[in-house]
Amino acid sequence: MTKFEYEIKDEIGIHARPAGLLVKEAKKYESQITVSAHGKTAAAKKLMAIMSMGVKCKDTVTVEAQGPDEEAAIAGLKAFFEANL
């Protein structure tokens, strides 16, 4: 299992459009990917689950991946968070 932590910089948090892009990014990988924040965890491939976590600016999220391409998934998602959130 590989993971990283990230503090959200986007002013309104993980809102609809970035959540959509996040799901798109996560679907590129075979691994199981989860996003956790303030005690809740959601699958990164599920748009509405991610949106309903209500992640806000300055929240810290933990992204974990488990599976055959977990290293690549974590690298890809880290780059995604840094560029979009």
């Binding site: 609809a16 949106m51 806000k56």
Partner: protein, 538 residues
Amino acid sequence: MQEFQGKSVYKGTAMGKVVVLKEPDSVIKRVRINDVQAEIERYERASKEAARQLGVLYEKACREVGEAGAAIFEVHQMMLEDEDYVDAIRNTIETESVNAEYAVAVTGDNFSETFASMDDDYMKARSADVKDISNRIIRILEGTKDADLSEAAVIMADDLSPSQTVQIDKDKILAIVTVHGSTNSHTAILARTMNIPALIGVPLDLGKISSGMTAIVDGSTGHVILEPTEEQCREAEQKIVWERRQASRLQELKGRPSITPDGRKVNVYANIGSVADIGYVLENDAEGIGLFRSEFLYLGREDFPAEEEQFQAYRQVLQMMADKKVIIRTLDIGADKKADYFHFQKEENPAMGYRAIRICLKQPEIFKTQLRALLRAAVYGNLSIMYPMIISVEEVQKITVIMEEVRQELEQAGIPFAVPEQGIMIETPAAVMISDELAQLVDFFSIGTNDLTQYTLAIDRQNEKLDDFYNPHHKAVLRMIEMAVDNAHKYGKWAGICGELGADLALTEEFIRMGLDELSVSPSMVLQVREKIITFAK
């Protein structure tokens, strides 16, 4: 034959077939089904069709309002394919042996409640998105066709939503009649821009009206007749012919300058709110754009528009208008115009609240992005910048400081730019009273009569109960205008009007006498105002 009375938002007569735009029935019947597998397949086909429709809408919105404004339809597409949403629908069909319509409705309600109960206004608003996609699937399952607009028709609806407005082909509308909606609604703005008769607040029972009935709409009196008598049809036809003749008489004024018989030039410009409206500006031969509301870049989207996106939009406008004047008003958001990502707090009195230049001065990074884009675009045409809601000299001084910072940053970065003419909106009594001081600091005044009237008379224009007290020609307002114009001229600056009063033909002569240099009106009023100027008698 049935007659109804509503409130007119744009004049003109129309007669034609009715098309009723409806949201699907709120009550979805629960039906027991035997073949679960077939029902799931039925749902999957409908979902696929919904995705296709959203794809088409996305493309259309991209062309008409730009990629950022269209993003919502892309998000809808993804919600449609969300694993949890799809699984919940399939499970409901399977475990309860119910029809797909019911499963979609229940699932849609559950998900939208989850969003609605969140402690976040932005996410609360997403519950409407879930409802919207669920309704779309249900419509497809029920076989409700999108309104048939193969021929031009009289549109009747409860109110037009922005997504309906995008969906309607603009050439297919004879008139718009809505049960709800305000004079500032999408319906009203669309009608004024496109020159079509429109009524709001018409007490129609849409359930009893079917598409295909005939209707006569009188946009001057606010009267609607359903299934008219032969005589009423004849009268309406005559009226339509007469109006067409009037319109073609106005057409002859195209290409003529707006000069009074004694040789005074009054610029007749147009007010617009999106790049798509430029077509109407050119079609009606406006001499420039007197008010370009830049809010279109900020509304109906998820996040602030980037500098590059703004620059491209402004440049496009300037290039399309060739060397004609284009006055772009900086962000005038707040009051009734909201965007979720601004995180506005609820205000007791939004018209007098955190809006327009107040936001720009409190959050200068938003303002600077817009100014940078404007200065860069200024290289491509005849631009002026206008600042809204000014009440003090200090505000103008602060703007000047920020402007200077932006200018230096661009210069240091070696990016091509130009500093255009800059003016302010005169729309508060405060600005009028100190207009002698303000005139020394700016290049022009543009008088925003809607807010100026509201603040001067202390009358909320959205409040119907106050209609009896409201007098748009109130002397106090006219004296305010005259005072601002006089002070502008005293310091060699020009003054114009960009509020609704500018298009009030009963006042055009008085405005000419006051010495106004410019009248900026909705595109459809340009030629009528020009006619008044050309025929002006002292």
